[in-house]
Symmetry: D2
Subunit: 436 residues, 4 copies
């Protein structure tokens, strides 16, 4: 059958209209035949709203794309070419726990770093491994493209333990950084490319090219002069110029959690005291968005979605899918098996890295050794990621305590233990592996 | 000429009587002919006191060992078989700065970790590289055995950039841990051995053997039941049993700085507020010791020396020297070039590791991959060590700021910058590389 | 100045007209401003003939490319964008020795393998290192692109010891293999790409893609059915199907020297007995070609050049130059520093590998571990290459004997010694390093 | 129960009396309680003869060792402390095929190298994996010590795929080389030790120590002056001095198959033409030995056994067992998992290497990178070994052809195929995996 079949698991996400828009905009290079929006029973209402909106958007665009909804992924998967996964197990209530329990113990509550990220991983990993198994069985030639957070740990889990080899992790941060570097240089994004290497939310722009010329030093210079904006959901960063010059590469937005531990933590703690938690802001935003989405006259992606964060997710995803489909062999940044591309990281581990995108999947560019200053932190986080994945799969509380203790943001084994014990209790319903 | 010639650089150290005692006790297996105690002009008084005491001790022991004093190492080195280096550049005044400036910025002030250790390294590394050059020139077959702190960084520097290949780093911590494990198991130390792997002040007992049988699990069990004492100069540690069980190996005393960041830091900050700094305690102790040493009736190592910390330094050093001299090929823990013994650490980097001690030097035992939980932190610290060594040699302030920023105990690049700038100013006289 | 300046060292080569044709055909994407044809005094006559022909060809094409000739590369280099090196030190007389002395001892006489290749390397490496030094000094931003044989060893030498980092080795074999695989599949070459990995004249097509789909198994199947032609200067190969199926990758033409040692050697020995040596065939061909080139009415590349071997050299070279110039980031096969792309090979060694070609140079695709069956031979040849490079630079006869002894085609250390001693004497004039 | 229980599988071997003598001589340090001699039904007569002789030897020695015979290893294994395996599947008739079919195709017929070694491995590996499984089940704390040839491949198989982790490969060659180096230096063997690294029958003495001092250069010098004897079953070798000096390490006896391919092959082919095959010589020797063994008045190991080859097997085996039993931690050369000890070889592969022998097993000394000249051949042979092991276990004929083709001694894929096909047919009864 001609045309591409997309299955989007977690189709009821408020981000989905962006994805739909992405497919509409790229129809000439990516002729989508069917989009299946899949969600679970608890998400029925949302996915129904999104499905209706998606249909209106496609109708408005005048394209022959069929949109279907399903509450059973096994019904949707057969024949799929691409399966995108954008789930959040436990939804915003779970995220609220991720953010509040750690903060109540005085440690960072961020949904992709520290204790929050760990528990987000504990909830997501078993479900995504099940999805991978279904894909391997029902549509083995399909590519599984995951944006669910924490994308680094999820990809680590799926690459090591998942049933399909055709799994790629994706995050919008590298795309955003490229956008901002383009802005910094005051050029079109198409004229630059950044060689990324590291882990998800922990990759560095190790070399930056403008019209093919290496302009890394120039970007570092400008980076020090102009304050980079950060993304909507990250606080703006303002590094010491001496530090960045000696570092010699461009850090990611999320590096501020490690290079400015105090500032980030204090800000969160203050907001927490004032009762502000990001998950609640997001909950409110989501509510407003779905109110908009329900409006039967709406047939485009509403501008308000951009405030939700996650900018360029759709571009990153649709570009990746289009390049695989067309065997474009262009360079994009993805989360894939290392295979030796970055020296010193286990060949079987997931890394976030510049790769060429072929019909047969991404092939990472050879990076070699990371700068010394960068290698240590990345190895540290990879140990944390690997232990978290093992604890998630084994449902091993002691390993969870170990994982959190070795996290560089954790003050002590004692606090790690307290937080883990409390969160495992609070999130019991989403952590079946820990209650076997 | 028969018999062994020892040159002790930093001979005016208050620890030297312990070393002398070690040589006296091992005379049957290690026939020392001459001991040269070398110090610098500023240490003349101390080294004169020590030399006199050493002579009395040897006389009392009735041994034909000649003790000589020199303020010029180039006079002492020719013909040496072993050169021990136990220097502290800037003495206790510099240590006081190492401990107080960081604490005044709210970060750890410990002379072998964090900012204190970094500046200790900045002062020591250039001097030890000069000593290594003199050894390579004047007594190229001699073994340079360094106990000067920070021993890990110093060995990293000498192994990578030093003129003699015959350089070994040594620390008393592994010996102490073995003693305490023996105590825990209620057996003689000779019945156990611990396979150590990691970095200095950051090595783990990865396997423990009693009468040749692996008793690691049993030791972990006991470790959790009984509180280990720690060494005199380290606060006692009390890890969460779940953490240690999942870790599966025995941490070093200094790991508490990383696994109990908050407790260690708060205790130091409190003492700092109360005006207690370890360097001042030590200064007082030293004064008292030298008062004792001056007593012309004293002809043994005084018991009070044991309170000074550094227990078993002499045993560690004399055992190492005796095993090289006798080609004993027994297992000891030393700081040497990795050469692939520990997977993932650069082959040219220094590691603290179990090795067999031959006349031709130590050969590390093959360790393979470290446990995942351990690898990350070790890689992180190795990045810090390597950058510190580079900054020390290049006298590069920005690299110093980078090194301190990436240290896992540092709260931010901003504090790193403030502390580095302040300390480079305060320690100007001992940091010529930074003022070239 | 706009437009590209090319300097071709060894411009008097009979291949040069092909290169000129390549530049003419790609003028729209690669606007060449100047081509300098450089040779040495001994090659004056040839380079004059070639220069005249090149001028006629460009005139006929109606392009504003200026062709210049020089006998002094230091005159030609300043301002160069690309320097191609296609030298043969000692010309065909040296090659005749490469081919005849080994055969007279009953071992392979082939100019890129075994003893012949080794001595070809001994002559070429010092000269190419001098050229690299001149480039680094006179046109440091230029790319040095070497086709001189033995390209693998030459690149190993230049990458490890050369003064310019902007050096790329190039061979026409991978391009030829792709052409033949396209023929095998009966498709346009543009529809396939082959992932190559290994060493020069020893790389394998490890994966083959048709329209982006992996068709490796299908190609292996066809490879076993149809006899591949080989290139003009290589005997056709006919492997056992069982062997190729179990190998699972596509060997290079030159692999027959290793997988069919007996057949290749016997055929050469027979021809040698009959007085046929390839260098003499080539000498005759060259003579005829230069007769043609002299013809002042000739203003295109004559068809007879194709019989000379070296097909597609020009395509390989011009494509590489055009992709660097245009920052095309397409995949080509080049000889570059490994940097970890192929596991198990030293990161600083040269490998022949698929890479994306950027304005900043090639970035190798990550290959990971080679198939077990392939790794051993490649490691073996890399040891031979590395020792050969060391012997060439150091002028060390014993190391030369060692290198030849460990070559898998050499019957014994005794024959290696005899051949090395005899050849060093016979080629004295071109081996100054061995006569220092 | 006090005392050690030994089970010797292949107890009917003519070598067994040497082993018995070894245990008798070391009774003070290795108090053996029981020795079980196990063989298969076909070997009943031999094992009965050996058992009777062993009993007489022990009676003469006046020791309380019980000797038992069994034709069922599962009866013998329970309670064993050490299981030695010295089997030869197919006995000398199979060996005769190993030696004659290859030679009839003009290629080497040697039972541990080339095609002969490969088929020896095909027969032995499945049986030894079954033994390993029985040990893991019936006496999991026992050490399996294998001398069966080809010891390198067998250990590779057992380490990767065997059920017990307590498996060590052992060969008498390193011990012999040490003996001969001692002779060369005219000193007692106890005064020297050799650091070995490589593969079985392919390890090098990379450093040699006399009284702890490095005397490698001196040994190389003498090695070149005096012709080393080789062992009884290996032709004497006479390398070119230039080759050995540049090599810089001491090759093994078996290296002559690779560094003197022609000489070794021609000698074998000549003897083959004359009807002399080693297996027949051995068969005659064996017959004579068993005639002697039957003599009821014989109660010591007869001197004639020494002509059989395999000198010092008993010393190597009994020393290893005694050092494990006593946790001696001395250095011996064993075949064990690499674990990173030798850089560049897979960490899970078997290597022959100097190791300290502890009660918990051998710990390899860290070797680091092998000399370049040595690395290539070793990697090549390891590829051959690994493929052979895979082919043996999978019973894959094509993989067997591939393995033999890539062997550096094989002239072509065609001969490899012919030999493999003919041998698989000729040895059908011992190759069940290839006939599933």
């Amino acid at each position: 059958m001609s045309g591409v079949k997309i299955v989007t698991i977690g189709g009821g996400s408020s981000y989905t209209p962006e994805l739909i828009e992405g497919f509409i905009n790229r129809y000439d290079i990516l002729p989508v035949r069917e989009i299946w929006l899949v969600d679970i029973e608890e998400g029925r209402e949302k996915v129904e709203i999104i499905t209706a909106l998606a249909k209106r958007m496609i109708k408005k665009a005048g394209l022959p794309i069929v949109v279907k909804m399903s509450l059973d992924r096994r019904e949707a998967l057969p024949g799929a070419d691409f399966v995108t996964t954008q789930i959040r197990v436990g939804q915003l209530p779970a995220r609220e726990i991720d953010e509040s329990i750690p903060l109540s113990h005085g440690i960072l509550g961020q949904e992709t770093n520290g204790a929050g990220g760990m528990f987000n991983g504990f909830r997501a990993i078993p479900v995504l491994l099940e999805i991978a198994a279904d894909i391997a069985e029902l549509c083995p030639k399909a590519w599984m493209i995951n944006f669910s957070n924490p994308a680094g740990m999820v990809t680590e889990a799926c690459i090591r333990y998942g049933a399909t080899k055709r799994m790629i992790g994706l995050c919008n941060v590298p795309f955003n950084i490229e956008m901002q570097i383009a802005k910094l240089l005051e050029v079109e994004k198409s004229r630059i490319w950044v060689k990324f290497a590291g882990l998800n939310h922990m990759s560095y722009g190790v070399e930056i090219f403008l019209d093919g010329e290496d302009v890394t030093d120039q970007v570092i210079q400008k980076f020090n002069e102009v304050e980079m904006e950060g993304m909507k959901n990250i606080n703006s960063i303002n590094y010491e110029p001496e530090f960045i010059r000696a570092l010699g590469v461009i850090p990611s937005f999320y590096h501020s959690y490690y290079y400015k531990k105090d500032k980030q933590l204090n800000q969160e703690l203050e907001e927490f005291k004032e009762g502000k938690i990001r998950s609640q802001v997001v909950q409110k935003l989501e509510k407003e968005l779905f109110e908009l989405y329900k409006d039967e006259t709406l047939d485009i992606k509403p501008a308000q979605l951009e405030e939700r964060g996650g900018a360029y997710y759709s571009d990153a995803a649709c570009n990746l899918i289009a390049s695989i489909y067309n065997d474009t062999r262009d360079i994009q940044t993805v989360i894939v098996k290392n295979e030796g591309a970055i020296a010193g990281i286990d060949k079987d581990s997931a890394v976030e890295i510049s790769a060429i995108i072929t019909k047969d999947g991404p092939i990472p560019l050879t990076i070699g050794e990371l700068p010394i200053a960068v290698n240590g932190l990345i190895q540290h986080m990879k140990s944390f990621e690997r232990l978290t994945v093992e604890a998630a799969i084994e449902g091993d509380v002691e390993k969870a305590i170990l994982a959190l203790t070795i996290n560089p943001l954790t003050p002590s084994d004692t606090i790690a233990k307290e937080v883990v014990v409390e969160m495992i209790a609070a999130q019991k319903e989403w952590l079946p592996n820990f209650y076997k």
